[in-house]
Structures are given as C-alpha cells and as structure tokens.
C-alpha cells in the first residue's frame, strides 16, 4: 500500500541556518507514525512546512497521490491535514462550542446560528467519546486535559485524513494520556494517518507503528517501531553509539557526604495551595520533590523562593529564621530558581541570549552597578561552551533557540549568580534526550561542588536517579520522606499510592 502522505526532499532555511535539509517522510493510513529527534532536529519545522506555517524552500508534498502545497494551516485543513499543537492553541475566554467552530461557524444570512454551532461542537466531541461535556462551558474553566481534547475535537471537526499531534501530552498526567491515546487509537482504526511528535519514549512505543528520526535537520531513518530497540532509537536521535547511551542510564554515584543544612522549613504552608510542610536541604545533596502533576510540588517551590508568601510556619536559612517578601530576598540569600513554565516565567523572548543570561546577576548587583560589557561577553562565551548551548551567537534572540537550549540559558542565568541553593522545577520537560543528559550531568557536578539542590520532576525514574533524598507530595501535602534504598521509582509509586493522608 502506498503512503497516504508523502514528503519528498523538503528543505527550509532561516536566515543562515539550515533547519531542514532534503527530508523525506511518509505516513500511512491506519497507522501512527512517530516523528522523533532532539530539540532543534527539525521536527516542528517539518510539521510547519507541511501545514503551510513556513513556506518550503524546496520539496514536494503529495496526499493521496495528489500534489498539495498549503500556504496556511487553514488551507492544510481544507485538504485534510489537521494539527493539534503542543500548547493549547485555543481562546480561553470563549466557550467550548465557540472554540471548536471558530472560523467555520454555521451561518444563516451572514448571522451566526448558535444552535448549529452547539450541535456541531457536540457532534465533534461525540466522535471522541465526550458526549457528556457541556459545550457552553468557558474553556478556561476546563482542565488542561479537557482543553487538549477540545483542541483535538476542533482538529477533527473538518474532514481530516491526516492528523498531526505535536507533543500533545506534555501537560497531561498519566491517566489523561491514556484517555487521549484511547481516542487516537480509535481514530487510527477508522483509517486516519496519525503523525505523533513526542519526547516520551514510553508513549511513542505504546502508540507508534513506525518511527522516523531526524537529526540536525536531516533524515536519519525510518523504522518499524517493534523492530527498533529503545536504546538504539536514543542513539539514533543523539547521533551517538550505543555504549555511550548505555552509560547514561546508570545512576549518578552518590557524591561527597552532605554538608550543613542551608534551608529548613517548619510547618511552612500557604492556605489553599500547600499544607504545612517540614523539610530541610543540605549542601552537596539533591532533594527531590516527587508527586503527580498538581500535587503541590511547584507551589512548595514557589514558597521556598518567595514568589508566593507563606501563611503559616517558619523558614530558616543557615539556621536563622527569616521570611521572603519576594524572589529578590531569596536571591540575596544565594537562592536560584528555574521555574516550571519556561515560556511565561523565565525567558525574555525578544532579548538576546546574552541579556537573558546576565539578567539575574545584574538584578542582584542593582541598577547602578552595571556589569561591564566585556565581562558580560566573557560570561556568555564561557557558558555557551560549558553547557553546549546551540546558538548562532550571544546576540541571537532567545526565542529563536530550541526549548532545550533556552532551558540551558536559563540555567546559566542562575549559575552566573553562583547560588548556594538551586531549585529546578521540571528542568527537563519538553527537552530532548541529549540536553537532558547534559542537564543531569551538570546536576551531579554542581552537587559535588557543594550546592544544595531541590529537584522537581514528573518522571519518577529520572527523579530517583538524580536525588539523594525525596519528599513525596500528594493532594497539596507532604505524605512521605524517602532516603537511601527507598529512593527509587518503586518507592515513589508506593508512597504516592499508599501513604496516609497528610502523614505528619
């Protein structure tokens, strides 16, 4: 059977950078086709070239044997290629029905037909088995998972032959992912060709029939999922050999014994966000926060960094009682924090890599003590090298970097302040295997240099691989302390599943 969708020799260059170099790609109807690669490998560019967001420089696309050349996502939809993007691309203040029908509302005499809009939305949701959803509900009132499904319903509202899912699961928890996958499998069985872009290997292997790997804008190969061992896939993505990848899988050896306590909380809590919590972090150790999405991990981290204010309990830094009115206070004590939502809470998109990198240090030095340009340049050059940040130069705007490299710049922003306590909230989310390995290695190095590190991560194996001790959170409360042999994937699962509510 010939492929339903064929891309041949697709190329795209942005000012001076080759993003895609003669890439071929096939998708068959009734199959799920995973598109894999490190950040910056060209996955998103390929999707955007396919859906007409970026004009192609070269190459052809055929769908069902016919040449197509969409110049906008809307044209792509019209010929049968629908996309659900990584970030929910809907309008939060409109209702579910309006979001599904926006831009193609049923009309009569030029006026909107509201009954028709609702009916059509209900039908679209019913295809996904979501008959019970109230289509009049405002979208922002729904969970992210529901929003993702609404986006999917919107994509399917037109007659789609090809459905592209661009990292649809990055903000979903395990159960929600399963729900989404059930829907995707149903659509696959109806004969749709599905292109699935994701970083999560587990998900790719549970869903995909075929896997195409890109690296540095070039095609590495197309494989049958069942015949491609995981480590081999990772090696393909990283462009390394198997032995190197296997070495990464081992747990970082425990560093030097932890030093004195830097931070300690006594029944620190915030009403409505996190129950009173005791914890302490010592120099030279990594304390992991385990728990499901929404269990209060980030809330606790924000409390430690002074972003939110505690309503109960005490915070001790170096054994001395203190309180943080704002992140500035925490930074003065040598704290650093890379927040969960990189785009909203961390990057200054239209400023350069250099400016993004020095901003925290400059903020601490204050308005009058400007860091001389030569020093800025030296710092940036050093960290681009040390963290292997892929950028065309220090004056590149950070928004033009891939997610993993943006994350490295944000890490560097804090490392230049020479912190004593580093709080990392999901530092590896949405970034590729190579960058993730770099960050994990860095974490161990910093720990051995005597930094105290708080590490928050959804992936229990990654978390236990990198932490010396864990605290486990559930329903906005700490439910367990884990140390020694209990610091394992199993230990975390067990604690989440079995610990009593708010164990003291």
């Amino acid at each position: 059977m010939p492929p339903l969708l064929q891309l041949r020799g697709v190329s795209k260059r942005f000012t001076g950078v080759v993003a895609l170099d003669g890439v071929d790609f096939n998708a068959y109807s009734g199959k799920v086709h995973a598109l894999m690669g490190e950040n910056g490998a060209g996955k998103s560019t390929l999707i955007k070239a396919l859906t007409g967001v970026h004009p192609r420089d070269a190459g052809e696309i055929t769908l069902d044997g016919k040449h197509i050349s969409p110049t906008s996502p809307r044209e792509a939809e019209a010929v049968g290629v629908s996309t659900v993007y990584q970030e929910v691309n809907l309008i939060p203040d409109l209702s579910i029905a309006e979001n599904i029908c926006l831009g193609r509302q049923p009309k009569r005499l030029g006026l909107l037909r509201w009954a028709g809009i609702r009916e059509r939305a209900r039908a679209a949701l019913a295809r996904l088995g979501l008959e019970k959803l109230d289509v009049n509900q405002t979208l922002s009132a729904c969970s992210i998972a529901i929003q993702q499904l609404v986006a999917l319903a919107r994509a399917l509202d037109v007659d789609a032959k090809v459905l592209i899912l661009d990292e649809p699961t990055s903000s979903l928890d395990a159960r929600e992912v399963e729900e989404l996958f059930a829907v995707v499998r149903k659509l696959r069985d109806q004969g749709m060709a599905i292109i699935f872009v994701s970083h999560f290997l587990d998900q790719v292997y549970s869903l995909a029939d075929r896997i195409t790997v890109l690296r540095n804008g070039k095609l590495v190969g197309e494989y049958i999922a069942a015949q491609l061992p995981r480590l081999q896939l990772v090696a393909h993505m990283m462009g390394r050999n198997l032995a190197e990848v296997e070495a990464l899988q081992h747990r970082a050896p425990p560093g030097t014994p932890p030093g004195k306590t830097i931070l300690e909380t006594k029944q620190l809590g915030r009403k409505g966000s996190i129950e009173p919590t005791d914890l302490h972090v010592r120099q030279g150790e990594v304390l992991g926060f385990a728990g499901l999405l929404g269990s209060g991990r980030s809330e606790l981290a924000r409390l430690l960094f002074g972003v939110d204010h505690a309503t109960s309990g005490e915070l001790h830094v170096d054994g001395e009682k203190t309180s943080f009115g704002s992140p500035r206070d925490a930074i003065q004590r040598g704290f650093a924090f890379t927040p969960e939502d990189r785009k909203i809470q961390a990057i200054l998109p239209n400023l350069t890599v250099r400016e993004n990198l020095v901003i925290a240090l400059q903020a601490r030095r204050g308005l009058w003590s400007r860091l001389p340009r030569a020093e800025q340049d030296a710092l940036v050059e050093k960290f681009i090298k040390v963290l292997k940040i892929k950028t065309s130069g220090p004056e590149q705007l950070i928004k033009n970097l891939s997610g993993g490299n943006q994350q490295k710049v944000i890490l560097a922003r804090w490392l230049v302040t020479e912190p004593r306590l580093l709080i990392l909230d999901e530092p590896t989310r949405g970034i590729d295997v190579g960058a993730q390995a770099d960050i994990e290695r860095l974490l161990a190095e910093l720990r051995d240099q005597g930094l105290a590190i708080v590490f928050i991560c959804s992936d229990a194996s990654e978390l236990s691989r990198n932490s010396q001790r864990l605290i486990v959170l559930r329903d906005h409360a700490k439910v367990a302390d884990l140390a020694g042999a209990d610091v394992s994937e199993h230990g975390v699962m067990h604690a989440i599943a079995h610990s009593g509510p708010s164990a003291p």
């Binding site: 972003v307 903020a363 308005l367």
Partner: protein, 347 residues
C-alpha cells in the same frame, strides 16, 4: 545652492550611510525625504540668517519648536519600553506652567524657586501615575487618562482660571533665549538626551526597562525590581513633561492652562513609534525617537510653510504619518523591499 545645502545634505547622507543602528534608518530616511520635499517645494525653507550673533530661520524654528516633543519623547520612550504609555504628559506641562507663572507673578518667588517648584510638582504627578500603574496595577492607559483629564483642571485651580502673564527675563530666556548662537531649548534637549542615554546605557536601567517590557513575570522570577523600574519611568516622564511645560510657558510668557501642551502627548507617542519602538514594550531607541520628534515638527512646519490652515493641518499630517507607519509594517515591508530589489537585511 545655499550654504545650508553644503552642510545639511552631506550630514544627513553621512548619517544614513554610516549609522549601524537599523532602528535609526527609517525615521532618518523619512526626515530626509520630508526635507528634500521642502528643498524643492518650499522656497525659503532653508534660508538661515545671522542676527546679533544668533541663527534664525525655519530650520532653527523646527529645532526650537521641536524641543518640547523631543523632551516628552525621551520620557515616553522609557515608559513605552516597559509596555506602558503616559497620556498625561500634555496636562502635566500645563500644571508645570501654571505653577511657574503663579509662583513668579502672584507669589513673587525667584525664578529658581519657581522652576524647582514646577519641576517638583511635575515629578509628584509622575509619582501618582507610577503608583497607579506599578503598584496598584491599573492599566497605564486608564491610569494616566485620569491625570490627562484632571491635570488641566488642576492647572486652572492653580491659576484661578486666569491666564497669568510674566515678564521675568530669566524665565523668558528659558524658551526664547539663545545660547552659543542657537536656541537655548536645544541645549536643554541635548543635556536631557545625554542624561537619559547615560542613565539607560551606562547603568543597567536600559536592560531592566527592556526586560520588564518583554516579560514582566519572568523579571519577577529573576529578582528584577520590575515595579520600581516601572514606577521610575513615570516619574521621569513627568519630569520631562515639566521641563517641556516650562519651555511652552516661557514661549508665550504666560500660563494658559487650556492650551499649553494640548495633544502633545499624542505627538510624543507618535515620535516614539516613528522611532521604531513597539507599544507592546521591549526595545527602545532614544536617538530614533528624537529623529521621530523632529520629523513630526518638520511636518507641522512644512504645512505651515505651505499655508495650510491650522484647522485642517491634521489631515495631511495624518496621511504622512500613515505612510511612515506603513513603511514599518511587518506585512508591507518585505513586499516593499522586494519591489525595490534591495539586498535583504536581517531584522
């Protein structure tokens, strides 16, 4: 060919050719085109004469008259860089003028006291704006609208609803005097420009402003005092407005609460926009905003020279400004560039 030609055009050409700042190109080009139009269509536009060691002529008028908008544009640049806007600067000019005239004419203050008081009151009004925007988080357009409306009332209150005239020579000098053969206002603008450039580029203020305008939430996480920075820009903008108000009052030797600085806030915003800054905040370019202010003043003077009545002057003015804005449109620009088949520059 007049002597002016031998100086002006080479200078403009050199600036256009040698500027490495992409942002400066477009306003400079617009200004050059406008001056070229005047070179051929407005006889006498470029005539300069020296009387009693002072330069006179339309070009000098443009610099002199443009001083107010240039001063306002300095403050406005910083406010807009943080993603805000200050609509009250015109009204603050009126208040500053009222304090100055009332102080000197009715209270018998010395010029120095009156100037200090006027600038002090202006800064205080800026404090109010800054408080509303930075700490009470009211949208800048609404927060400054309050003073835009109330400011003129305040000025009326200060002057008891009268137009107060004054003759104090020091104060008259402020807006009408000459220094080194050129209007004194120009010296004021240059000093303020130098001060602002120093503050923004030699301290970390420029980076803080652009960072705040780009992503305020991220700034808070990075420990940047975003609110204080915002607050300061409104105080600074109001201070600049106070200075502009002193000049405007001195120009006409009287405080006219109803007319001083009327609509000048819009000219200032326009100057900053012509200077290539985005109203959503982020990058700002002081020099480009200055050229933008000069462009707007030249436009006004051009219309005046063409005997367009003041009542309908806004129409041709609007048309030219639309053209300038279209030049900067991200949609049209690439098409124009293709049309001119020029070498593509990275944005």
């Amino acid at each position: 060919m007049s002597p002016t030609d031998f100086i002006l055009w080479p200078v403009l050409a050199a600036l256009l050719f040698f500027t490495r700042k992409q942002a400066l190109m477009k306003p400079l080009l617009a200004l050059t085109l406008l001056l070229l139009y005047n070179r051929f269509c407005s006889p006498g536009f470029f005539d300069l004469e020296i009387k009693e060691g002072h330069l006179y002529g339309r070009l000098i008028d443009i610099l002199n008259q443009g001083a107010k908008v240039m001063l306002l544009a300095l403050g406005m640049s910083l406010v807009i860089a943080t993603g805000g806007v200050d609509l009250s600067v015109g009204a603050i000019m009126a208040v500053a003028g009222a304090v100055l005239a009332q102080g000197v004419a009715a209270r018998g203050w010395s010029p120095a006291t009156a100037i200090t008081a006027a600038l002090g009151v202006s800064a205080l009004l800026g404090l109010w704006n800054g408080l509303l925007v930075a700490f009470l988080r009211i949208q800048p357009i609404v927060a400054t609208l309050i003073l835009m409306v109330a400011g003129r009332g305040l000025a009326m209150l200060i002057t008891d609803g009268q137009i107060i005239n004054f003759e104090n020579p020091s104060l008259v000098f402020l807006g009408n005097g000459y220094f080194l053969g050129l209007p004194f206002t120009l010296t004021l603008v240059l000093v303020m420009l130098g001060l602002t450039a120093f503050l923004t580029r030699r301290t970390a203020l420029g980076l803080f402003l652009e960072a705040t305008g780009d992503n305020e939430t991220a700034c808070r996480y990075a420990g940047l005092p975003a609110r204080n920075v915002k607050f300061l820009t409104y105080v600074f903008a109001a201070f600049c407005a106070g200075l502009a108000g002193l000049i405007a009052t001195s120009n006409i030797k009287s405080a006219d609460a109803n007319n001083i600085g009327l609509y000048l806030e819009l000219d200032a915003i326009l100057a900053v926009v012509v200077g290539g800054a985005a109203l959503t905040g982020g990058r700002f370019h002081l020099l480009a905003a200055m050229v933008g202010a000069l462009f707007i003043q030249t436009l006004t003077t051009t219309l005046y020279a063409a005997n367009v009545s003041a009542d309908i002057a806004p129409v041709p003015k609007a048309l030219v400004i639309i053209a300038v804005c279209l030049l900067q449109s991200p949609v049209l620009r690439p098409k124009l560039a293709k049309l001119l088949a020029k070498k593509e520059r990275p944005a």
